[in-house]
Amino acid sequence: MPKITYLENNGNSKTIDVSNGLTVMEGAVQNDIQGIDADCGGGMACATCHVYVNEEWFDKLPKKEDGEEDMLDMAFEPKKNSRLSCQLIVSDELDGLIVSIPSKQG
């Protein structure tokens, strides 16, 4: 099972086995990772599952759809390596992915 590492904003690092097909957001919510709210439940309608993707991983991920960039306008402190974790679907290619969670979601 792919391993995803979540860097919480309190400095904790948690590495979780997340099944293929789940999103990085679902992996966080189901494992009590702090700081991913996912208010809309994965509908790309709220920007509260915002994460920063570790630099070396950013280019390896599938590109953003238009709607994701629009929602990121509304995220808290968006940066160049910002993504919505509900749009990152876990697969073997993502094994080892590291994401950092912003200091808050809104």
Binding site: D39, G41, T48, E69, D70, D73, Q105
Partner: protein
């Protein structure tokens, strides 16, 4: 003081159907919602997105669902108190006394919280120490556009609110528009208009910039904006407007002594009552083993919560279950003439 059998907090689909369920069992209700329109997330987040899992409706948009629900409850002539947020609730013997942020007061025997993920509020700037300017020189909505006349206004954001106000205020103010990326996501006509105004020298546009800091004591002297490449630019401005959309916050609900699990309210699945007698929670905001955050689950929860309210509204009467197909009294409540 408005007296009612039940107060519903939240005018989303679940709150609306609950109005129907209260109505057919003969209970009155009033509805409060912090948004300026009826429909909750369906209207605010996805009015045009099709929904495919409403029973017996193969496909409908958030807006269509809201309009159909309104049609279904039209006969009850329900009062909606929009742009209002319930701030305080207080128990007074067997009644609940409720006050909104606008000062509206209710007396009710039960409360149904159908508030989704909480109330929608503007997203704010993340910059530190910005609070002292907020509400005066840094604003997230425009109440009186006259205050900007002949002033410099810096608008942040890339959606329709930011573009519309940039266009509107450029008639009477100096407008500077700042956005975090090159693409704007508003309507194409607005984007074209803004670009045209830029050509004409009526609007200044800075893209790939975000707010970095604010200078000045009570008044803003100037702001610094930071480019993606970390370079800083100083802008002299009188007002700052931020349009970053809305975020959902639980708000005052968290302070009413209800048990909370993360941002949800645990309920029993018999009638969706919370740990407080007479307060019920339905829809996305409630939690119980097996909870699904679906509109259809919220309809079921509302039907049972409405029956749960009956004993508080009419303690001396016994609730009788009746079908809409056969009950004369239910039909008369629905305004159906035979």
């Amino acid at each position: 003081m408005i007296k009612t059998d039940t107060l519903i907090i939240g005018a989303g689909p679940v709150g609306l159907f609950c109005v129907h369920q209260l109505g057919i069992i003969g209970l009155t209700c009033e509805v409060v919602d912090n948004l300026d329109k009826i429909g909750g997330q369906c209207i605010e987040l996805y009015p045009d997105k099709p929904i495919y899992d409403i029973p017996a409706i193969p496909e409908c948009t958030g807006e269509e669902l809201t309009n159909n629900l309104l049609e279904q409850i039209k006969t009850f002539k329900t009062n909606f108190h929009l742009n209002e947020r319930v701030e305080e609730i207080k128990q007074d013997e067997k009644k609940w006394l409720i006050k909104t942020n606008k000062g509206t007061q209710f007396e009710t025997s039960s409360i149904i919280i159908a508030a989704g993920v909480g109330s929608f509020e503007p997203r704010k700037f993340s910059t530190k120490e910005i609070e002292k300017y907020e509400g005066k020189k840094i604003l997230y909505s425009v109440k009186d556009k006259k205050i900007f006349k002949d002033k410099t206004v810096t608008i942040f954001g890339g959606g329709d609110s930011a573009l519309d106000w940039a266009i509107e205020l450029s008639n009477t103010s100096k407008v500077i528009l700042v956005h975090r990326r090159d693409d704007f996501r508003g309507m194409q006509a607005s984007i074209d208009k803004v670009n045209q105004l830029k050509e004409e020298g009526k609007i200044e546009i800075y893209t790939k910039y975000q707010l970095d800091s604010v200078e000045g004591d009570n008044k803003i002297e100037s702001i610094n904006i930071k480019h993606d490449d970390e370079s800083i630019k100083e802008i002299k401005t009188d007002y700052v407007l931020g349009f970053f959309g809305l975020i959902m916050k639980l708000g005052p609900i968290a302070e009413w002594g209800l048990n909370l699990d993360k941002k949800t309210i645990p309920v029993n699945t018999e009638n969706f009552e919370t740990n407080k007698k007479g307060i019920f929670a339905i829809g996305d905001i409630c939690s119980y083993p097996g909870k699904l955050k679906l509109i259809l689950s919220g309809f079921h929860e509302g039907a049972l919560a409405a029956r749960g309210c009956f004993k508080y509204a009419k303690p001396d009467e016994k609730y009788r279950f009746e079908f809409t197909t056969s009950s004369k009294i239910v039909k008369s409540r629905l305004g159906i003439k035979e």
